[in-house]
Amino acid sequence: MEHPEDQELERLLGQVKLPPAPFGFEHRVLARLRQEREQGKWSRLKLWWTEQTLGFQGGLTAACAALVVLVAVGGFWQWQENQKTERLVSALDAFEEYQQDQEKWTELDLYTWQ
């Protein structure tokens, strides 16, 4: 059942109207829309540029890292090779020395024997 004050309340509420949109509202909405679309274009371009830059930077970083690894591996390999050569040279030197010693002793033995 409807409350006896309902009609009175409706009448009271009905006296207050919604305020109308201010003059020029529609133009300001359109101006803001254009501005946002323009900003949107720029931010998309900026995003694309950032992506490209990041992509380039990423590529550059990867290439640098690969180069560093390559140099390190190459350096290590070179060092190993040098070590091998050094060992070979010293082994040859030792062998040569041994041979010379052997020859010396042989000569001495022969002399002693004679």
């Binding site: 109207k17 919604l18 305020p19 946002e36």
Partner: protein, 196 residues
């Protein structure tokens, strides 16, 4: 020539037609702005900013609009989302400032009679006081009750449309309106009897 309907204008808006969008804004600006002002009770600039945001969202979401849905219901759903977000930011309802007419003169909604004439000073004062009391009472209602009341009382929506805008059921809308009216009856008790 017959004017295009809202759905046709929305289809054109979705294609990026700014003229169609401008026509939509022209048609519904008072509904959106008025609802925002009554919901936020905020200052004119703030209310206008929110109302502009709503229309910008309409433009951006135009592609997702289904013509089967009534445009004003869809528009007011966006309005509800923006208004509730703004209410969360601002914390509470703020008292409205007087609005200005097209000549820039300050007016209160009650200054205007139904026939468009402006009443005398004492009558205006009484009306302004009454309007202030109604605004205050409506503003102090919980958000959902306030929006349901505004949609029913001022935007003339039926229960089903209000339910769609609020994302609820028709019985729930009826309950919200019942509770809103109960609260308003208590808050405006003295005015109800004084205006008999």
């Amino acid at each position: 020539m017959e004017e295009p309907g809202d759905a046709e204008l929305m289809t054109a808006t979705a294609r990026g037609d700014e003229d169609a969008f401008a026509e939509l804004v022209r048609r519904h600006q008072h509904l959106v702005y008025g609802t925002v002002v009554r919901m936020l009770g905020s200052h004119r600039a703030e209310a206008e900013d929110v109302a502009q945001q709503i229309f910008i969202r309409v433009f951006k979401a135009a592609g997702r609009y289904q013509p089967e849905a009534k445009f004003t219901t869809w528009l007011l759903t966006i309005c509800r989302n923006c208004v509730f977000t703004q209410l969360k930011k601002q914390g509470r309802w703020k008292k409205e400032e007087p609005w200005q007419d097209e000549e820039g003169e300050e007016r209160h909604p009650l200054d205007h009679h139904a026939d468009g004439s402006v009443g005398d000073a004492s009558e205006n004062m009484l009306r302004q006081e009454l309007e202030g009391a109604v605004q205050q009472a409506v503003g102090e209602l919980p958000e959902s009750q306030r929006l349901a009341l505004i949609l029913r009382q001022y935007d003339q929506l039926d229960y089903e449309e209000i339910a769609k805008v609020l994302g609820t059921t028709v019985p729930s809308v009826k309950s919200l309106l019942f509770r809103a009216r109960e609260t308003l009856r208590k808050a405006l008790h003295s005015y109800l009897h004084a205006t008999h």
